[in-house]
Amino acid sequence: MGSITLEHVNKSFGEVEIIPDISLDIRDGEFVVFVGPSGCGKSTLLRLIAGLEDTTSGTILLDGQDVTDAPPARRGLAMVFQSYALYPHMSVRDNIAFPLKMAKLPQDVIDQKVDYAARTLNLASYLDRRPRALSGGQRQRVAIGRAIVREPKAFLFDEPLSNLDAALRVNMRLEITELHQQLKTTMIYVTHDQVEAMTMADRIVVLNAGNVEQFGSPLDLYKKPANRFVAGFIGSPKMNFVDGPEAAKHNAHSIGVRPEHFKLSTTEGAWKGTVGVAEQLGSDTFLHVQTDGLGLMTIRTDGDQTFRHGDVVWLTPDPTRIYKFDAAGKAI
């Protein structure tokens, strides 16, 4: 079991309030991702749940039990750090066995569990090496192995993949998702990579300046962003925003159109513009179009388009997919 509930959690470092007031309900077995810009308090929130930081006020419940004042060692959660945080003076075997030793399990049970974890994670041939002699990906696996052997109530990941190269990151992303499907244990995963967030999460918490902007499934956030911040943060490339008279036509303070929701024409349409940079990815082409009076817009088209720098194009937003926001940025 591993449901996690935050009730009016507040955290300040001295005078500075980092997390004003967060309430969250994370269900048992859920894969929840915290995303948000750098410095918005993702790590702090995770560390509050872990017990590595004390809350200033508010309550944290684990399976309905108040753990607000419990030290990390008593919470039964496992954490994977961005820096891996392996014990450099211990072999891989001892690293993975460490939580089991702390739990005072008998040696034969420890050996069995370590061997099982090592086989699952393809670490069997490195068991006697020191962490220093492993690659980044292998170290990450050891960190995950150390987390899974003790069968925690929940896993906490703080940007575990950000030190890996792009290809390995995609691999490990799949491995972690698979691990979650296999173990069905609650996972909380912090990242600022929204592709990771969209692909891995059951539900996403979008954080901004210590506040929860929206908590919902990836598709919910994409299709029904609660406000302009979420609309701009989820989706890649970013949503295009238009203020002023064009927005007023739709009875909104501002409107947003995703790059993939435009019709493109060389002869007619709603907004006229000139192609600036065309980024060709093969499967897609991203056109950066300088529109007359509405600023720079990003348009996603298929990879066969052959627009060039300086071409004049007409853009027509898909009328059913225009997002409208009021003066405070809330979706209407």
């Binding site: 954490m79 820096s83 450099p88 003076h89």
Partner: protein, 276 residues
């Protein structure tokens, strides 16, 4: 780009390095040589470099007059005892300063260091009176205690500097893995800080071994260490240079050997963190 150094520059620096080393070493060398001379030769108006009449009689005479082994054992107990006691107190203290600092941590560190800036004689009378009243005068445990106290600031400072280099993530990982404070310190912090702890131990053993002021004022016959042993030869029956040299040689030999065998460790410890 590799720096090009001409052969003559290299030779120049090598000669200079040897010259400095010899200059520093020469008093010790002279002591060693004198220890094997006769008294007459030692004070000769035109001294010879090497002993002309090589003799071991000084060592015998020194042992006869004042028990070398008793003093040596006292030295070992006091220097290792005080250092180990200091480490036991300082490791938790440095842990808290390095990993759970408060607003006052820097002030406390400075305050501890400031106690070393005061001349020891400043507190001679109070300490002497306290020792007298507690019946600690001329006892090995009393001397160990005072040695622990005077070296504690240095031990805490050194450990604090080494602990600062250890990523706090790793200690946090241990906490997440279910390690209580004791296990975190014993299984994670201390093994990672072994080089630092070892050089702290070595340096403080050497400091305590060579400490003379408190040793000479707070002990006499029973609890005296090797520093007291040497000083007993420099007075008052006139100068016996050869015997004094022999006594000095005997007193510094153990610590010199310790330093020799651990020099790699010492250098590594003292420059720890200087180069990342």
């Amino acid at each position: 780009m590799a720096r090009r150094v001409s052969t003559s520059t290299k030779v120049g620096f090598t000669v200079l390095a040897w010259a400095v080393a010899l200059l520093i070493f020469s008093p010790i060398l002279w002591t060693v040589l004198t220890a094997f001379k006769t008294e007459a030769e030692a004070i000769a108006a035109q001294p010879t470099f090497f002993p002309q009449n090589f003799t071991l009689e000084n060592f015998g005479a020194v042992q006869d007059r004042s028990d070398y082994f008793k003093h040596a054992i006292n030295s070992i107990i006091v220097s290792f005892g005080s250092t180990i006691l200091g480490l036991i107190i300082a490791i938790p203290a440095a842990w808290s300063m390095a990993f759970a600092p408060s607003k006052r941590t820097k002030d406390i560190l400075m305050w501890m260091l400031s106690t070393k800036m005061m001349p020891a004689v400043g507190v001679l009378i109070p300490i002497y009176l306290i020792f007298r009243d507690l019946r600690l005068l001329d006892t090995v445990h009393g001397l160990t205690l005072i040695m622990t106290l005077i070296n504690l600031p240095i031990i805490v400072w050194m450990l604090y500097t080494y602990f600062k280099e250890i990523p706090v993530d790793i200690l946090e990982a241990a906490r997440m893995d279910g390690a209580e404070l004791w296990n975190e310190i014993v299984h994670v912090l201390v093994p990672m800080a072994v080089p630092g702890i070892a050089s702290t131990l070595l340096l403080n053993v050497i400091l305590a071994w060579n400490e003379a002021f408190w040793t000479i004022t707070l002990t006499s016959g029973r609890a005296g260490t090797l520093t007291a042993f040497i000083s007993s030869f420099s007075s008052p029956q006139g100068l016996f240079l050869a015997k004094l040299s022999a006594a000095s040689l005997l007193a510094i030999a153990p610590i010199l050997l310790l330093g020799w065998f651990s020099q790699k460790q010492l250098v590594r410890g003292l420059t720890f963190g200087a180069v990342k």
